[in-house]
Symmetry: C2
Subunit: 350 residues, 2 copies
């Protein structure tokens, strides 16, 4: 088998949807989840696509995630949505919440949504970018299982707490932040240990709380959020918005689909949608965004770089190219998908 | 003269107000500006208090900032405020904009304001924290003169772009982020050069774009935003919100009160106020905040630290202590204030 297999996005989408349907997820919901996983691949976030399926499948098989959740929606204010995900797949609740927030913003200029009792929702840009065709700025965040120590602490408390913010432009590729707020991932530390390579500075503390680049010492210590004290503050803010304000778990108590054996994961999300026309005509704003991004692109690049790019720029062209030429999947990922498919009577045409 | 002079906050406030009034700033506006500068000292941000006065005074003396601006307020949506600061002191416009945003949030659950044609507004927490007594979350940001290169670039483009977010709690000191998004300050690089000490990692690139801790090489190169690529993305987002969306200058074109010789500074601000009761009862939210912050405080501290604290914790106690015991000012700052006072016939009782 070749090391990389190329698959068309609609083929991949159909496969994921069929697997989820075999696990009693209704067709429309299965489509939302598979669209989200495939969109992550299209944007180049290959960790947030097909590799997530195994965890979801296991949770659905074992009844740890509900295939047919009863999602309840409250609207305390015309622009504010409170959603209870009923421990269903995170994508279903997040997509619903963001759709409602965008509808509110379309009418009232602003919309916001909080989600509680949810699960892993995939790549945050799947939702923030829904705001773009409506000339809105979309902000989406989630909390997650404790994975990093706040600044000054020696115990995990903060999750990877993703943040995505999408801002429309006129002709330039849109500005889209999609980032984990942890600096590094524990699985990459294990990789470094087996390869015998040091870690980048700022990833971890050893068991005494000293900064370390030694993978072994890092595994005995704690991982860190991005950006030192300032990044830690922002990561904690994301837990406050998506956990405390939403009614979800917070403060280190969220679980992941891999560890929620005793109780629900309890993920929370926060979403904010601002219609740019609430502040200035959309065309004017988008023209100014083009100008902002063009000025940035025109800066002299640092050594070793051909050009200066901004968040979402590279992903924009990856999306175009992968839509045309298909998504390259690593052989191990394909192998796992085939095995999931076999178990549920779905053929993987990768 | 002693190295540090202690001054009561009301004394300091009276002095700054009197100086500004001598420069034709109306009493109420002068009070807003002096309250803001003094509040920065109370919170321990001594760079954002009295040391700012000299620049403001010079601009007022030379007609580069208007003492009596005609501020115009538009309200494109009931919750959205667009304010033109008419090149007045930044505090006057920011205080007005935040007050209007909070009033909107009180009524509608959400309020937002953008400010254009403004100037340096002091410490951002002066405005974000106004949201706290109304059980609102306040977010305030500003852009600023180009001071740091975006990730991958070798030219200054991003400002120190401050971000403040204030979140109320029940009995715990409130969570208050107030941070510059630049990693280090150029004046501290000059200080390091004269002391012969190296810079912390992550502050600067040399003229070729290589990371450096050598102050001399840093001065020939560029400063960096906090948090590498992720921090750079957030800093750029703050310029988009406070510059592009507001109608202010953006993309490296904001000037400072020290450099706006040819034209207005063109600062922009963005403010967002969310009433927590839009999502859950305020008491419940604040109780959950106490729980979040207590869990964080209970974490094991990293080596060398006595306790784990969160943004706003230390500043809360500094504020209490300085309100009681006065504000310690460095002798050089007092000297400069005396000289400003002398020029304008106001006695500094420090």
């Amino acid at each position: 088998m070749p090391k990389v297999v190329n698959i068309r996005s609609n083929e991949l989408c159909g496969f994921i949807q069929a697997v989820l349907e075999r696990l009693s997820v209704p067709a429309a919901d299965a489509k939302v989840v598979s669209d989200c996983l495939v969109f992550a691949h299209l944007r180049g976030f290959d960790t947030h696509g097909l590799p997530c399926l195994a965890g979801y499948v296991e949770c659905l098989e074992q009844g740890r995630i509900k295939p047919t959740p009863t999602i309840t929606v409250e609207r305390p204010m015309p622009w504010a949505i409170r959603l209870d995900a009923d421990n269903g797949l995170g994508q279903i609740a997040a997509h619903r919440a963001m759709t409602l927030a965008i509808e509110a913003a379309d009418q009232l200029g602003v919309g916001a949504a909080v989600v509680r009792r949810s699960n892993h929702f995939g790549a945050a840009c799947c939702y923030s970018m829904l705001a773009l065709p409506r000339d809105c700025i979309g902000l989406v965040t989630s909390n997650a299982m404790a994975a990093a120590a706040p600044f000054g602490a020696l115990e995990s408390f903060l999750g990877t707490n993703p943040l995505s913010v999408a801002v429309p432009a006129l002709t330039a590729p849109p500005f889209v932040i999609d980032m984990a707020t942890s600096e590094g991932a524990r699985k990459k530390v294990r990789q470094a240990l087996s390869l015998g390579t040091p870690l980048p500075a700022g990833w971890a503390l050893d068991k005494d709380g000293n900064p370390t680049t030694d993978p072994k010492a890092a595994l005995e210590g704690v991982m860190l959020p991005f950006g030192g004290m300032k990044g830690s503050a922002i990561t904690l803010l994301l837990d406050i918005l998506s956990g405390v304000l939403s009614g979800a778990e917070f403060g280190g108590r969220v679980l992941s689909v891999l560890t929620n054996q005793q109780r629900e994961s309890g993920n929370g999300n926060f979403m904010l949608v601002l219609k740019v026309a609430s502040f200035m005509p959309a065309e004017e704003f988008k023209g100014r965004m083009d100008e902002e991004l063009a000025r940035l692109r025109a800066l002299r690049p640092a050594r070793g770089l051909k050009e200066v790019i901004y968040p979402g720029y590279k992903e924009h062209f990856t999306e175009i190219s992968r839509k045309e030429q298909g998504i390259p999947l690593a052989a191990a990922v394909v192998e796992e998908a085939r095995s999931i498919g076999k178990r549920h009577g779905v053929v993987f045409h990768g």
